[in-house]
Amino acid sequence: MAALRTVSGNTGMISLFLLCVIAAAKSDEQVPLVAWASDGFALSPVNAPSAGHTVSVEELESHLNTALRTAPLSVDDFTLYGGVFGNKQDSVFQNLEAALLSSSSLWLPSVSSSATALVSTLLQNQIDAAPLYMNPDTLAQLRLNASVAALLVFRLPYSGGADMMSTKEVLSGNDEVIGQVLSIMKAQSVPYTAVFTALWPSRVIEEASPAVHSVWSRSLLQSRREEPTATNPPLEFKEKGSTCILLWAEKLVVSQYRSGKWERHDLAPKTFGEGVEPNLSGSSCNETHSRLVLNYEDVLNYRSFKLIFVMNRRHYKVSARHWFTMDLVHLEYDGKTATFNGSRYIYAPAEYSYRCESVSSSRYPQLSPHSDKDNANDWQISLHDFQIQGFNVAGKDFSYASDCASFFTPGIWMGLVTSLLMVLVLTYGLHMIMQLRTMDRFDDPKGPAISVPQTE
C-alpha cells in the first residue's frame, strides 16, 4: 500500500507518504527508514539512533511523523546504488537525495520490520485519518485540502527476483515515482512529511554467529558474546553433604528420529537456572565410579526421561596417574534405553574437569552409539559448552578444565613434521653446495696464460 497522509500541524498540513508492500516478515529482521519534510516544515529534532541499534515499535512511534515504504529495501541498497563511492551520477536515488538535501530529514538505518509493518496504523492513530491508497496518476487528479490531515500511501512496484540488475532498475523506478509524487505535491503547494521504508529487507544481513563451527577450531572466548549474559551456576550433586559431581552445559539437546524427521528438545532450562531443581535421584559417586542421573518428565512425549552420565576413574600404569573417562551416556525413556560410548574423547586427568565446546553424536562426534543395533542410532545428543567433573570436586567450582581442543591440531603437526623434513633436506643440500671448490692445484699465476685458439 502506499499512503499519503496529511496531518494538521503547527504551520499547516503535512502530507505523509507511506509506501509499503504487505508481506509476512520475521520480527527480527531490520529495514531502513528515511523520513523528510517539505520546505517550511521541520521534523521535530530527534536523537539519531546509535549504530547497530534496531529501532523498536515504541521508539518508531515516538520518532514518527511519516512513513514511506517500498519494495524490499536494505541499508545495503542505499550503499550499493546510492552513488556513495564518488559516482554521484550513477545514483538511483536522485530525487530522494534532492528532497533530503532541501529539507530536514530523519534517517533510521535499522528499524525492526514489525515496527514498519505497524507504521500505517501508528500514523492513523496519530492523525485520526484513514489511509488513502494511491499512485502518482491518481494523485495528480486529487485536490488536496491544506487544512485537513490526510494519509496517503503509495505502493512502489517491486520485483521478487534477487537479480542485481533488476534491483537497480526497480530502485530507479521507485525513485522516479517518488520524484513524480513530490513534484505533484510541490505543484499543489501542500506541506508534507514523507516516510520511505519497507516491510522486509531485500538483503538479510546474517548475524555473525558467535558460535565456533567445530570443536577443533579456536576463537577468542571474549568475542563470543556481545552482552555477557549472567551464567547459571553448575549443577551439583551432593552425596553426604559434600558436592561430588558438577555439570554445566549451555544447551542439552536430545533429538529423536521419528516419522522421517528429527524432533528436538532442549533440556537445559529444566536443568540449570535460578530456582531450577532437577531430580537427581539414582545418582551416586564413590572413589572409582560416578553416575549422574537427571530425571525429567514429559520430554518428547515420553512420560519419564532420564539422562545418565557414567564416569569411571582408573589408574593407568604408563602415565602413572589417574584418569577419568566418561564411558557411557544413557538415555532412558519409558523403560527403553539408548547408550552412547564416550570414552574415546571424553577423558581427563582425574584431578581436573573436562570441558568441550560441543559434545555431540552428530557433528564431529565425540559420542557414538554403543553398538550398531542400539536404540542410540535413532537418537542424537548435542551438548554445548559442556563441562563435567565427577571426581575430586572441592566446593562448588570446577577444577582446572582440560579442554578438548588441543594447542596444535593434527593438521598443524603434520605440517610441522613435513616442514622439518624439508628443512633437513635443505640443510643437507646447502652443505653439499657450500663444499664445492674449484680445483686450484694446477693454477700457476706466474706461468703463461692459457690460450684457446679460435681456429683448429
Binding site: 582440560s402 613435513t418 657450500m434
Partner: protein, 237 residues
C-alpha cells in the same frame, strides 16, 4: 666462522631451543598429560606417512645414484685424459650407480600403487589396517631410500678407484669390479626388505627378483668373469 659452522649451529640451536621451550612450558603449566604420542600417531593421516615414504624412496635413491655417478664420473673423465682406453669399460660403474636409482623409482611406483582411498574420519572407523598400511609404506620408503643412498655412494667411490686403477694397470679393473658388485648387492637387499614391508602378499615380486638374480648367476656360470660382465654390460646397452 665459515658458512658450514653457521648453518649447522643455526639449525641445531633452533631445534634444541624449540624442544627446550616447549618442554618447559609443558612442565610449568602441568600440562604434561597433553603430550600424547598415541594421539599424534592416530590423528595424523595415514596418507601423510604413505606419501612421505614414496617421496623418500625415490628422492634418497636418486641422491645416492647422483652422488655415485658424480664421484665415478669425475674420476673417469680425469683418468681418461691420459688413458683414453678406460672410458668405455668403466661405464659399467656408472650403470651400477644408475641401477640404484632404478630400484628407487620401481619401489616408489610399487608403493604408490598400494595407496588407496579409505573411508573413515575417526581412528575407530579408519581402522588398524589403514594405519598399518600408512606406516608400512613409510617404513618401506625409508628402507629402500636409505639403503640405496649408501649403496650409491659406495659404488661410486669404488668405481672411482676402479677407473683410476684401470688407468694405471688394465688388469686391475676386473678385480675391483667384484668389490663393486658386492656394494651393489646391498642396494638390492634394501629393495627386497622394502617389498616385504610394503606388502606381504606381493611375494610374487620377490620371486621375480630372486629369479632374475638366479638367471644372471646361471648365465654367467662357467664363463670367465670379465666375459660375463661384458655380456651384462652389452645387455644394458
Amino acid at each position: 666462522m665459515n658458512g658450514h659452522a653457521i648453518l649447522y649451529t643455526g639449525v641445531t640451536l633452533a631445534f634444541w631451543s624449540t624442544i627446550l621451550i616447549v618442554g618447559i612450558c609443558y612442565t610449568i603449566f602441568d600440562l604434561g598429560f597433553r603430550f600424547d604420542v598415541a594421539w599424534f600417531l592416530t590423528e595424523t593421516s595415514p596418507f601423510m606417512w604413505a606419501n612421505l615414504g614414496i617421496g623418500l624412496a625415490i628422492s634418497l635413491s636418486v641422491v645416492g645414484a647422483a652422488w655415485g655417478i658424480y664421484i665415478t664420473g669425475s674420476s673417469i673423465i680425469g683418468g681418461g685424459v691420459k688413458a683414453p682406453r678406460i672410458k668405455t669399460k668403466n661405464l659399467v660403474s656408472i650403470i651400477f650407480c644408475e641401477a640404484v636409482a632404478i630400484y628407487g623409482i620401481i619401489m616408489a611406483i610399487v608403493i604408490s600403487n598400494l595407496a588407496e582411498n579409505f573411508s573413515g574420519t575417526t581412528p575407530e572407523t579408519i581402522g588398524a589396517k589403514n594405519y598399518q598400511a600408512g606406516y608400512s609404506m613409510f617404513g618401506a620408503g625409508l628402507t629402500v631410500g636409505f639403503s640405496n643412498l649408501f649403496c650409491g655412494i659406495c659404488v661410486g667411490i669404488v668405481g672411482s678407484g676402479a677407473a683410476l686403477a684401470d688407468a694405471q694397470n688394465a688388469s686391475l679393473f676386473v678385480k675391483i669390479l667384484i668389490v663393486e658388485i658386492f656394494g651393489s648387492a646391498i642396494g638390492l637387499f634394501g629393495v627386497i626388505v622394502a617389498i616385504l614391508q610394503a606388502s606381504r602378499f606381493l611375494k610374487s615380486m620377490f620371486i621375480y627378483i630372486s629369479s632374475t638374480l638366479a638367471l644372471l648367476n646361471m648365465s654367467c656360470c662357467g664363463q670367465k668373469l670379465n666375459v660375463c660382465f661384458e655380456n651384462v654390460y652389452f645387455e644394458y646397452i
